[in-house]
Subunit: 431 residues, 2 copies
């Protein structure tokens, strides 16, 4: 994990915090009942093995904007999160008959240092939780174990993944449990089809099968139920969204639908802004419906932004991780992020990590060259771990709702609402 | 919880650390396998709801000397333990069908401020974990709710415990789950006999029924299995012990048996000291076999210490909590505690807290007027919380075995070995 912890806490621009103070105050006042509400949810729909959730905090509203079920970034967690990570991992492993020998199947990256550092951190957590851990890679041309140095004292080894009958393994190591850390954007590799070992998260939750719009359908239902239980306007905790049919950005087919929906969504947002007297310009985020890594993302403030897409922008939208063609997109209400790190005035957005249904830590994604209405998941971003002592699960109700432990508790609630949505997705695919 | 955390770490006198370095090194080297070993234990015998374990660290050996299944002292935990406490409590509550409404049945203290502070801390943990919590007191003359101030901002309320048919409750509050924080030294009160609500820990684990010698029988078996699995001499992690039949200190009946066993135990210790070339005087601790609060405890360095017991000492041994007559005693190898707080040269012993099977924190019990071979659980003691960042579950194997996170990890292992023993006791009484 990242050393040392700087414990920088982004500054929330206070001019806009009115309604959020209301949300935070409300959430703090109901903390115990909210925990009981979540406990009920996990009984009905157990949480995925692990996840990370990107949040945007506009001051007047706060919402999850992306839920990753094959998270990387474990290296960015505060080292003081380790005890919580170990404990939560042990509770997640309790579900399995055997979890002494664990095999992680990672992404097929070969040069992404940050990803390998995350992988090493994940191995460390699992090892400390009591697992004997190996990494079995799907890299097609990996014939021998490959050592990857993380730092002068630490290295990880990628082993070629092998299969014998209905089980996958590496040389001399037959795992009890497979942990997927590969989002399967390009489908399920034959090697892991029909294996008898338990595999978590489900292969059905890979991006080949999962869609952001299905996730946000679930999320809206969850936000609705939560808002009803705790008397909130669900809009304050969820972004509006719309969907289009197939779009080919290169040939401009389906783009009229996009224009129409952008216009409609902007209008919806404008109405909510008027209702809450928010003096900001609405914007829409258009994202590939399946995928990650901040690729294939664009911002529209008006339909003109769609009409005037140049070739470079269209190429970027058409391409995504693994070179998949973007055919479906999700249109999401843009949520401003009005958190910034004071010293550099860089825009920051919180990313919250969960193991099983426990919030174990998080960090701020910070981008010094991006504005509050832009995607921060882009080259040039960096990370600051959340201070553990202000962990997302231990609010201090007697202090101001904006005090860090309380703001962080609200983050943890929002992230877990997205996790309930993911748990429902998981339940659907397993039926 | 205690504010602020001083994070004092007692100094371990290094002249004697040879063999313990070996134990600690060995435990660190096997950390992952040890966690897997514990995971197996919890599958076979689930852990009690909560517990605290007193350890003694002689440098050349380390061992649990008391395992409390109705712990107080939650107020002495480091406030930074809170996230771990919440998480572990939520995992413990997962076992119950319903745990939204929780009733704690406390000890019948009326003037023990420290106990009430612990009770308030326990209420706080359970509330943050999502429970609606009340305190239902067994105090016979409590007719109306009694408010007890903890500090200027905090108070707790003792409600008279009521019963309607097969359920206990307080006025206008029908709990789903009863948490016992009363060690039932004087037996099971009629009010809670035969109730249908789940009650944890089991009433059968009260001191009316439990004995230290039965616990240490179990502990020795556990230490034996652990030592076999990890190639240790079990003596390095467990105190030798013996038992006597009924003893009446006032009438001096049974005292010959005591003398005989003290002599035999001292001889056994002497042999082990010789084997490890330990240049210390053996001693024996004689304790009431059922009970707590450090009452009814005496130290013997020779049989003369038994022969020459004066009236005052005999009266102290004959009386225990609740005025019970001591009839059975346990004779335990005295384990020196060679940890001390440098500034004052006060002797310190670690106390480790667990919720479910998770180590959540601990503190040092410190006594400035007692020696390394004396009972520290006595008036004049005070407490220093363990530093959370050095929690007992996240060792740093690359640093010295004596580095605090590593010493604390060893504490956590020892405490959990005692917890396995308690889990086996629990399994026996529930059969």
């Amino acid at each position: 994990m990242m050393q040392p912890a700087h414990n920088i806490i982004p500054h929330l621009q206070t001019a806009l915090t009115g309604p959020l103070q209301d949300i935070e105050r409300h959430i703090l006042d109901n903390q115990s009942r909210i925990e009981a509400w979540f406990a009920q949810q996990w009984k009905q729909t157990p949480a995925p093995f692990y996840s990370s959730v990107d949040l945007r905090n506009a001051g007047f509203k706060i919402a999850p904007v992306d839920t990753n079920l094959f998270p990387a970034g474990f290296n960015n967690l505060n080292p003081e999160s380790m005890p919580l990570c170990i404990q939560a991992t042990q509770s997640a492993l309790d579900r399995y008959e055997a979890s002494e020998k664990v095999l992680i199947i990672p992404e097929n990256h070969t040069r992404n240092r940050a990803y390998f550092a995350s992988l090493a951190a994940l191995v460390d957590i699992l090892t400390k939780a009591g697992c004997d851990v190996r990494i079995g890679s799907l890299l097609p041309d990996l014939e021998h174990p490959m050592e990857i140095p993380i730092n002068p004292d630490k290295r990880i080894t990628l082993h070629p993944l092998l299969r014998t009958e209905e089980r996958v393994h590496i040389e001399n190591f037959m795992p009890d449990l497979i942990i997927l850390n590969n989002d399967l954007t390009e489908g399920i590799p034959d090697l892991i089809k029909g294996i008898t070992q338990p595999i978590t998260p489900s292969k059905q939750l890979g991006w080949w099968n999962r869609s952001k719009s299905a996730h946000f359908e679930q999320y809206h239902a969850v936000a609705e139920e939560f808002s009803q239980a705790f008397s909130l306007d669900p809009w304050l905790i969820s972004p509006l969204h719309r969907q289009c049919g197939k779009i080919d950005f290169m040939n401009r087919t389906g783009v009229e639908c996009l224009e129409k929906n952008v216009a409609a969504l902007l209008e919806e947002i404008r109405k909510k802004y008027a209702e809450y007297r928010i003096d900001q310009e609405p914007f829409v985020v258009i994202k590939a419906d399946s995928g990650t890594y901040g690729m294939g993302v664009m911002i529209a403030h008006s339909t003109d932004d769609i009409k005037t897409l140049n070739r470079k922008q269209r190429t970027r939208m058409a391409a995504s991780k693994g070179g998949q063609h973007v055919t479906r997109v999700i249109l999401q209400e843009g949520v401003y992020t009005f958190e910034s790190v004071s010293a550099e005035q860089s825009v920051a957005e919180p990313v919250v990590y969960m193991l099983n249904h426990f919030v174990v830590g998080g960090f701020y994604r910070i981008h010094k060259d991006r504005g509050p209405n832009e995607n921060l998941n882009a080259p040039g971003m960096h990370f600051e771990p959340l201070a553990f002592t202000r962990a997302c699960i231990a609010p201090e109700p007697d202090t101001s709702p904006d005090a860090p432990p309380n703001r962080f508790y609200t983050y943890g609630v929002m992230a877990r609402l997205a996790l309930v949505a993911a748990a429902r997705e998981m339940q659907e695919v397993s039926q």
